[in-house]
Amino acid sequence: MNITAILMFFVFVALTLAITWWAALRTHTRADFYAAGKNIGGLQNGLAIAGDFMSAATFLGISALVYSAGMDGMLFVLGGTLGWAVILLLVAERLRNLGKYTFSDVVAFRLERGSVRTMSAVGALAVAIPYLLAQMVGAGALIQILFGMPYAVAVVIVGVLMTLYVTFGGMIATTWVQTIKAVLLLTGGTIMGFGVMSLMGFDFGSLITAAVNTHPQGQAIMAPGVMFNDTITIISIGLAFVFGTAGLPHVLMRFFTVPDARQARRSVAYAIGFIGYFQSLIFIIGLGAIVYVSKNPEFLAADGSLIGGSNMSAVHLSKIIGGDLFLGFISAVAFATILAVVSGLTLSAAAAVSHDLYANVIRHGNSDEKTELRISRITTLVIGLATMALSILLEGENVAVLALIALAIAASVNFPVLFLSMYWSRFTTRGALAGGYAGLAVSLLLVMLGPTVWVSMLGFERPIYPYAYPTLFAMLANFILAYWFSVTDKSHRAFAEVESFDAQWIQSEIGPTQKT
């Protein structure tokens, strides 16, 4: 039990609940609930995007990867940043120019409302729900170690807070939770990165030498291949990060909170600054953990393994850098990080149900605002309760597969249909449905037949699909089927859809204009 951690956590919770109450008084319309009234500025949205994206998995998971595999961790550090270049250069401004509240607005801009929206809402939910569960189960385990409370209590605290933020405060509260968390995480990361460097006399060379001398694999960690050494895995990881980021529904949703495309561009620009800066610290933090944590008896269990597993390496490092006070701060930051990410995910899942499925598919775009808002709040409540229950059932299970599925689907379902709908004039409803569902099916199938499920969970000896990551083949399946079923589509509907591309193209370039 760390008193500082608990105190700081209470301050964070009190502050965010106060903000939620304040936000609830300002949440009246759909635009308030889904998009914070479209009033967020570029800088704050940039921070909130960073807060939405930088999960505990980024902070603790990637530093753990550097801790165990050295240079191979660079693959993730770079992927996590380059995904944002794709968003800046190809997606953000067009997304804001074409859509209202969710990325499905853009996919269904000129395609058939019912079927295409259903498909992209399924894509959004297939990312948000597994990712949410993975975060919750990870959070329960992490908080159990950090705060010494039982797993189920931790899960319930996270679930209740997340449900409160989203149900009452909608996007306004979520934005502020994410903004505050981003500032806290960036502060914590900076202190840690600079702490490590100052222990090393600000010489990057001595950090590397010390890491090589401490790590059991020695010089091998400063070469690639400790963890990943085949082309298909490396390309799939790269694709999942680079294009999957632009297919994460909670991340895309943040671009509708700004007034126009210009602010959307500014948001990503700031986000790239914050995320790139943080990712470059992660590598230093991982190496620092090798030097100061891996051989330190204080952090090792009786059998010589790291207490809490390698995911705790960054947390242990914080104790070396700033004692119990800083350990408390980092623990509270980890908790806040989880809360911010799960809130964003819950809101995007709720919007997929209420805005995409209810308002546009069931009510054909003529929904009553009050009913729609009520439905999104009920959905939030249901998602909150369901994830709490499922997370408690999944205690101790390996949830890596859930995160794997989420990222694979983001890259091989959501990104391709979003990209093709914005850039390819010949893209039709038939192509979108064939490609989208093919990407979904191939992702799920390959994960099931791969080492994570087939071998680790089902206990078979050899995987049918030998690679952990399905992205390369699932993405190809989507693009190939989307291409084939679009170009061979000779229906009247397809003709009209191709015809209406030009109007969409103009709006995507210069924004919605008042045409007289």
């Binding site: 944002w84 590397i208 070469a223 790269g238």
Partner: protein
């Protein structure tokens, strides 16, 4: 059907210039970054020794780590370049097209 206004926008030199330049700028910046990332991935499979070699003869920082930080820095620089071009060139052109519509 495309409205008369839309047809005029599509034909206008300003719109064409906007589309062509933006497409060229975005894709070339992106392909450079993704190309470097792909090179990093492929080198780590086919020529791991190349990434493990120190950058300077008697230094300790390996090429792979230096390359990683270089790609991060380049992402940041390209972001600044894109924003600079967008503010100085795309934005005024968009404004001009929209102003043309109102006339």
């Amino acid at each position: 059907m495309l409205s008369q206004v839309d047809k005029e926008i599509l034909k206008s030199d300003d719109f064409r210039k906007l589309v062509t330049v933006r497409r060229w700028v975005s894709w070339s910046l992106l392909l450079v970054l993704l190309g470097l990332y792909l090179a990093f991935g492929l080198l780590s499979v086919y020529s791991p020794g190349c990434l493990a070699r120190p950058v300077f003869q008697d230094g300790v920082v390996p090429v792979g780590v230096a390359m990683g930080y270089m790609i991060l820095a380049l992402t940041f620089i390209f972001m600044l370049v894109y924003v600079w071009i967008a503010n100085g060139f795309f934005e005024p052109l968009e404004q001009k097209i929209i102003a043309g519509l109102e006339r």
